[in-house]
């Protein structure tokens, strides 16, 4: 098994290296074959590992010692348990689908090989992250996925918006990493180790700083998982090609923060303040970002804000100590959000890279397969039984309802209201893009995408429907075992759960959202504009994403530049160089000027100075 653990991350890495360095030699077909093979091997191995883990064979061991600092050894190693095994399946499966889909999506792109190299490199990094058995390797993976995300957002590097977005994404993530690294530093300072299990064992030693540690670690998660107010980079990341929006900015990378907090659940259970902070952050993100999704017209941006909102749900679940529910929603979301993104991508290809939904409409007739898979993703996302999203979201809402920490009431209101919002924006997308009269140029009708695009859609749609049925084991059962802190809960079976859910408010809120979307975008299509007008300033505020982009660019970017200029011109050039360095040069110059007066070579000056000297000396002698 140990060899298999190694193969899982290394196979995609090998693919990435071959496609990246020898892309020109092996050609397009070579590049996609070798990377897909790598990820396929990784996926199949992950299944074996998963089955093995279900049979009770977990693993925790080091591969090699990365460094010894003083007497502290830090290693690279794997912890294979039920948590990491689940993540490995999700990551490799979605990655495999995205690899295949890319063949169709990027067919015309000159950077074809480079793209495959990047997404395979991403898969490697993400696997290293989830398989880590210590904080250092977690941070390695954490930063590596950030790097690949940076490279992929800026994939079309000649576009100014793309290279702006990738820099922004990297820097905002770095702000999160700043907190994360400080958190890791505190863990090391208090326990003297970075190994998860040893840290958990020594957790009582951290008691006095545990709230600070948990919040700092969570700041890292806020960056990576785009939680309010570090969410600003994710919408802009849509500048990247759609396959990576699905893989990185929806299904896997952005969930790294959720995974990390779940992994650290023994620590978070020690601090109620930290959990309260997590819960409120998640709830605010869920509702505020969901509202923005209602105002967007770019099809990818709608899905992007939906992702932000769903990540908010997962975070809220973490804050409510429902780690298993967060992980469960992470999994179902990975499937249905990948479907939504890839279907949106399929629409974008068909529309010749038009992303504005105001120029779509009636696409259902032209692209039936895309429509039906997207619809499955939408229903799942809205939380209608028996699709996956219903179960996972319901579990979260239930958990938030029962959370005892400060702010739970507010959070419950947010997540509940967000159910309505989610259903509304999701079906707004469906109705605007796929129903009604076509608003595109009829001389270039769109047509259904090729098989390499639609087959992954169908394969991802299946778990979007079915993966929720697993809730009994994952959320309420013993699936996670000791890999997470679990809350015992009653469980009366899937039927009872569904029946109970259908009678509860979230379900009816979701139905209400869909009906509202139908009414506004199918029946009274004149209303949305009027509503926007009526809520003028408020609508503008939401549409501008609450003005955070402007605020940050003025305050932080502008402020840093101003400070830098001040230090440079004022400090370095004026004070240090001008006053001290060149000042002392001038002082020397002045002094030598004075001294040189005495050596002017003019006899009369020497003579007069001599005379003055004689007079003074005589006076001095006479006085004594």
């Amino acid at each position: 098994m140990k060899a298999l653990y190694l193969i899982i991350p290394l196979a995609p890495l090998a693919g990435a290296i071959i496609a990246g360095l020898f892309g020109r030699a092996i050609g397009r077909a070579g590049a996609h074959s070798v990377t897909i093979l790598g990820v396929l091997v990784s996926f199949i191995s992950s299944i074996f590992v998963f089955v093995d883990v279900l049979n009770g064979n977990t693993f925790n061991g080091n591969l090699y010692t990365w460094i010894t600092m003083g007497d502290t050894a830090v290693s690279i190693g794997f912890q294979i348990d039920r948590l990491s095994a689940l993540m490995m399946i999700v990551v490799t499966f979605v990655s495999l689908m995205v690899h295949v889909y890319t063949i169709g999506y990027m067919a015309e792109d000159p950077g074809y090989q480079r793209f495959f190299a990047y997404i395979s490199l991403f898969t490697f990094s993400m696997l290293m992250l989830v398989m880590a058995n210590n904080f250092l390797q977690l941070f390695f993976g954490w930063e590596a996925v950030g790097l690949v995300s940076y490279l992929l957002i800026g994939f079309w590097y000649t576009r100014p918006t793309a290279v702006y977005a990738n820099l922004k994404a990297f820097l905002v993530n770095r702000v999160g990493d700043f907190g994360f690294l400080l958190g890791i530093g505190l863990v090391l300072a208090y326990t003297g180790t970075l190994d998860y299990q040893q840290v958990f064992a020594k957790a009582p030693q951290m008691a006095e700083a545990i709230t600070l540690i948990c919040i700092l670690l969570f700041v890292g998660a806020m960056g990576k998982s785009a939680q309010f107010p570090l969410h600003v980079w994710l919408p802009d990341s849509m500048e990247g090609p759609t396959p990576i929006s699905a893989l990185i900015h929806a299904a896997t990378m952005v969930t790294a923060g959720i995974f990390m907090v779940a992994r650290m659940s023994p620590l978070y259970e020690m601090s109620e303040v930290a959990r309260s902070f997590v819960l409120v952050t998640g709830a605010v993100t869920a509702l505020s970002m969901g509202l923005v999704a209602l105002t967007q017209f770019d099809i990818k941006r709608v899905v992007a804000f939906s992702t932000l909102s769903q990540l908010g749900y997962m975070t809220a679940a973490l804050g409510a100590s429902a780690y298993s529910a967060a992980m469960f929603h992470l999994m179902t979301h990975a499937f249905f959000k990948a479907v939504l993104f890839l279907a949106a991508g399929s629409v974008i290809i068909a529309m010749h890279h038009e992303q504005d939904m105001r120029r779509m409409g009636g696409l259902k007739r032209y692209m039936p397969l895309t429509y039906w898979t997207l619809l499955i993703g939408a229903i799942a996302s809205a939380g209608i039984p028996p699709l996956a999203g219903f179960f996972s979201k319901d579990a979260i809402i239930e958990a938030v309802h029962e959370a005892g920490v400060v702010g739970a009431g507010f959070a419950y209101f947010c997540v509940l209201a967000c159910v309505f919002v989610t259903a509304a924006y999701t079906f707004r997308l469906v109705f605007m893009a796929f129903h009604g009269a076509p608003r595109f140029d009829p001389s270039h009708p769109p047509h259904e995408s090729p098989k390499v695009v639609t087959v992954p859609l169908v394969l991802l749609a299946i778990p979007s429907v079915a993966s929720g049925w697993w809730i009994g084991q994952v959320v309420h059962g013993e699936y996670f075992g000791s890999s997470l802190v679990l809350k015992p809960a009653e469980w009366h079976g899937l039927w009872a759960y569904t029946l109970h859910g259908v009678m509860a408010p979230p379900f009816w809120l979701a139905v209400g959202g869909i009906v509202t979307a139908y009414f506004l975008y199918r029946v009274r299509t004149d209303l949305p504009k009027k509503i926007a007008m009526a809520f003028g300033p408020l609508y503008a505020l939401v549409d501008r994403k609450y003005g955070f982009d402007e605020l940050y660019s003025r305050l932080f970017a502008g402020g840093s530049l101003l400070l830098g200029k001040g230090f440079w011109k004022g400090g370095d050039q004026t004070v240090i160089d001008g006053l001290i360095v060149n000042g002392s040069a001038r002082l020397v110059g002045w002094f030598s000027g004075v001294v040189s007066l005495f050596q002017s070579g003019m006899i009369y000056r020497y003579a007069s100075v001599m005379l003055v000297g004689i007079v003074l000396l005589t006076y001095w002698f006479l006085r004594n």
């Binding site: 090699y64 010692t65 990365w66 460094i67 010894t68 600092m69 003083g70 007497d71 502290t72 941070f139 390695f140 930063e143 590596a144 790097l147 490279l151 800026g154 590097y157 000649t158 100014p160 290279v163 702006y164 820099l167 990297f170 820097l171 770095r174 702000v175 990493d177 700043f178 690294l181 400080l182 890791i184 530093g185 505190l186 090391l188 300072a189 840093s560 530049l561 400070l563 830098g564 200029k565 230090f567 440079w568 400090g571 370095d572 240090i576 160089d577 001290i580 360095v581």
Partner: protein, 486 residues
């Protein structure tokens, strides 16, 4: 014997280069000398005894017996790696200048080879006078390199560099003479380590040494010579300056100030930490607004060297080892960054960021390599840039949360100035016809940058071999520093 070879082989080859008249012979001799010079340092690492925390490969011959001055050389886990780094960088500098330098080729190469030998001398010297001679002698070739092959404003930069550093080291000479008389007539640095000194005397001596070393590091506020020197120096000069010459100051601090003046070092630690953090934050912000690439990287160097001085003065193993790792890593990364700018400068003859844009379109291989080095400069894990910063931040956290907090801001600032520059220079559409006409890396350039890329990645993925040699000497130093001398 090995150490003497490491010192004198490059110098001997430098003299040979000067004596020969034929340009191609000069180049070949220079390359041969650099490679041979590197080869003789390898046994220092492979033959290094990890269990021995003291000096190894020691050689001690009387030099000026009347004053008890000896040719006394040796290395421990702190200094050994710098000889390798220096000799390694020398090879790259020789190759990098291969077809770029067309005037006074022999003198150019001779300067670098002699400089290389002198630098090895500084790191190996165990006698204070020998150290001082080597330390000061390095100024001369560097002064010549900047003054002869530099940019338009080279004379101002060279004189500023020379006076600044010379002024700094004068007080050190007085400190050395004081220690000589105090120790009853010994210049042996290791004897001085054991010399009892009152706190008052230590404080004065500390400032004597500090000025010399702080200028070299350079620490804020005596750093302003560096951006000028870097911008005007030829590429090779910048490389050696950043990769090795700056390390002399830091090396001096850990070889003289910390062990000889442990109590004063602790007394002044808050000040040193403060100055280091100013270097990290203030200089990081200054780097952000630079318009000249070399000046930007120069400021980035100062900011990164702030981690070195910070690591020394938090007095724990993480910090000191982290600082040493940072010194090695900075040697690779700053060398690579200056070489990258050199590659572009050779083609475009401008260092201004605004003259570039969209270089990736015409130089994809170069863009990929520079991306790696830029990421290393931001301290991305799996590159060498991460290791030292990580260790120092972890060490700072042990000392005080807020020190770590201020130091860790480099995660944001470092990324901001490096990647913003990268974005403006490399990304985007082709900015002008000069960029459109660019040729990608030639095999020689590819080799130099490729070798550095391997070094940066290797040290990032597997830094153990680098830290493992340090433990003995660093533990010894920590034990030594822990005992008050007064």
């Amino acid at each position: 014997m090995l150490l003497s070879l490491a010192i004198w082989v490059p110098i001997a080859f430098g003299v040979l280069v000067l004596l020969s008249r034929n340009e191609s012979l000069q180049r070949s001799l220079a390359l041969g000398g650099a490679v041979f010079g590197f080869l003789v340092t390898i046994p220092l690492w492979t033959g290094f005894d990890l269990a021995n925390p003291g000096m190894q490969f020691v050689q001690n011959i009387p030099w000026i017996a009347r004053f008890n001055i000896n040719y006394h050389v040796g290395v421990d886990g702190i200094s050994m790696l710098f000889l390798l780094l220096n000799s390694f960088i020398t090879i790259l500098v020789v190759i990098a200048g291969w077809s770029v330098i067309e005037q006074r080729v022999g003198q150019y190469y001779a300067s670098f080879l002699i400089l290389s030998g002198l630098l090895n001398g500084v790191f190996a010297a165990l006698d204070a006078v020998l150290f001082y001679v080597f330390f000061e002698a390095t100024l001369i070739p560097m002064f010549i390199i900047i003054g002869l092959w530099g940019g338009p404003n080279r004379v101002y930069a060279a004189v500023k560099f020379f006076l600044y550093t010379l002024f700094g080291s004068l007080l050190m000479l007085i400190a050395l003479l004081y220690l000589y008389s105090k120790s009853g007539g010994s210049f042996a640095i290791l004897d001085w380590h054991k010399l009892p000194l009152t706190l008052g005397a230590q404080k004065w001596l500390f400032f004597g040494f500090l000025l010399a070393f702080a200028v070299k590091v350079p620490m804020w506020p005596v750093h302003t010579w560096l951006p000028d020197a870097h911008t005007e120096a030829p590429t090779g000069g910048s490389v050696v300056l950043a990769a090795i010459l700056l390390k002399l100051g830091a090396y001096g601090l850990i070889r003289f100030s910390l062990p000889i003046l442990p109590d004063a070092s602790k007394f002044f630690a808050p000040m040193m930490i403060g100055l280091s953090l100013i270097a990290v934050v203030y200089i990081g912000l200054v780097a952000l607004v630079q318009t000249d690439m070399k000046r930007l990287i120069a400021y980035s160097s100062i900011s990164h060297m702030g981690f070195v001085t910070l690591g020394f003065f938090i007095f724990n193993a993480y910090g000191i080892e982290g600082a040493l790792v940072q010194m090695i890593s900075h040697g690779f990364i700053s060398a690579a960054m200056f070489l990258c700018v050199g590659v572009m400068y050779d083609r475009m003859h401008t260092r201004m960021i605004s003259d570039y844009g969209g270089v990736v379109n015409t130089m994809p291989k170069f863009a990929a390599l520079m991306m790696l080095f830029a990421m290393a400069n931001c301290g991305l894990p799996a590159t060498s840039g991460f290791v030292g910063e990580f260790m120092v931040i972890m060490g700072a956290m042990k000392a005080n949360f807020w020190i770590a907090f201020a130091a860790a801001t480099t995660l944001v600032f470092g990324a901001a100035y490096t990647l913003w520059m990268y974005k403006r220079v490399i990304f985007g559409a082709v900015a002008n016809e000069h960029v459109a006409a660019l040729q990608d890396l030639n095999p020689r350039e590819l080799f130099v940058l490729g070798v550095l890329a391997v070094a940066v990645l290797f040290m990032g993925i597997y830094p153990l071999p680098f830290t493992e040699v340090m433990h003995g000497a660093v533990n010894e130093l920590m034990r030594h520093v822990a005992v008050p001398k007064t």
